[in-house]
Subunit: 210 residues, 2 copies
DNA sequence: AAAAGGTTTAACCATTTGGTTAAATATGGC
DNA sequence: GCCATATTTAACCAAATGGTTAAACCTTTT
């Protein structure tokens, strides 16, 4: 029962409370639907204090967004850079992607949305943080794998597009899948999502193996 | 140079002008971002007349949304019901889906968005119009194809999920793909989209053929 | 020409919302 | 106890927005 000596650092500051609340509300409602009052309520403070910490909605949004994009891309780049045979690398890529999505299910729709409505603002958020996914390298590796007769000839850009699509769409288009197409209850859909890792890899494997 | 005898029917009524404008603005800005004034401007009329035709924003939105969902689903159901061998049916499905998406590129993101924010309202729009995609039948056919040793064993739900994902995500997540991941100019991305039909089918074919 | 419905103009209203302000209060470090 | 910072309270403001209203105007039908 000894107090940890870094106890002070585990305290949640008001700024963190605000960022957590803002993240939640922005993701849930989008930029247009998000209300500063609701963010304040969620953070357990009042509007005056909210504006005391973040001058305006835009500044707060930028901070939230930067925090979001700063998580996935480095994660994926690490995998891309790792030294593994092509099939294992693809599997690791899918695994990491799905794991991240399972833990951040509403993120893709939010990002796609804001990105398409407010491109300038958002693309800046990526560049300011020096975040660029290393897609080029992945394309090169697929090219080499084709030349080395490890996999059948296929357009690398499309292969990557397909892999990412199969990973992300069940989350991003979840409302369409779950409520319109498949009409299954929540838990069942979550079960499907968990199976995706294996299913996607098998699909990709069979589609490129010689 | 003879006037068509049904000339009267090609005139665009004010109601149609409104619906076209509303569709555009709603898709572009979403429910939260759409402004009645902007819709009126786009339709070339004023706000008073807009409210004269549609009592309020919600009513107008419902009409617009009903018109949108009323297009894709019957289209796909026709293909599902057609009598074709499994591989051809899959190819037809992909073709029809991509064709529709090429002609309605911003639709998926809009639908997913509104669906996730306003589920009750929207799911109603589907049911009121008696629109249900016949996914069940497609699943059955895939099951039979497996039993008949036409394709390798695979979870039909996941196969469908993957096909739909590969078709829709390049449109729905276009902003992410184009601006963040691939960083290619507009025309090049359009070129990629047109190639998708063939690429997806080949991917699916190789992944299930025995 | 009268009637009827579509259309415009323009003012108006209530509400919401982002943002501000100022004064009061709490809190912790010195 | 003093000072700076954090926080609350509560009122306030300007702009945007959905929606209304009433009078005038235009066009077509009867």
């Amino acid at each position: 029962m000894v107090k940890p000596f870094d106890k002070m650092e585990v305290e949640i500051t008001t700024e963190e409370k605000i960022l957590i609340a803002a993240r939640k509300v922005f993701i849930e409602k989008g930029w247009d639907g998000a209300r500063m009052q609701e963010i304040a309520d969620n953070a357990g403070i009042n509007k005056a204090l909210l504006h005391y910490y973040f001058r305006n909605k835009e500044q707060l949004f930028k901070r939230v967004f930067a925090g979001i994009v700063g998580k996935l891309i480095p994660n994926l780049n690490t995998i891309i850079q790792s030294e593994q045979p092509i099939f294992e690398k693809i599997q690791s890529f899918i695994d990491a992607y799905i794991d991240f999505l399972l833990a951040n299910q509403e993120l893709p729709l939010f990002v796609a949305n804001e990105l398409s409505r407010n491109a300038n603002l958002i693309v800046g958020a990526f560049e300011e943080n020096g975040l660029k996914p290393m897609v080029g390298q992945m394309v090169m590796e697929i090219f080499q794998a084709i030349e080395n007769k490890q996999i059948r000839p296929i357009n690398p850009a499309h292969l990557l597009m397909s892999i990412v699509s199969m990973c992300v769409f069940p989350f991003m288009g979840r409302s369409i899948f779950q409520k319109v197409l498949m009409q299954v209850p929540e838990e069942m859909y979550q079960e499907l999502l968990k199976q995706r890792k294996k299913e996607i890899y098998e699909m990709v494997y069979h589609s490129i193996v010689l």
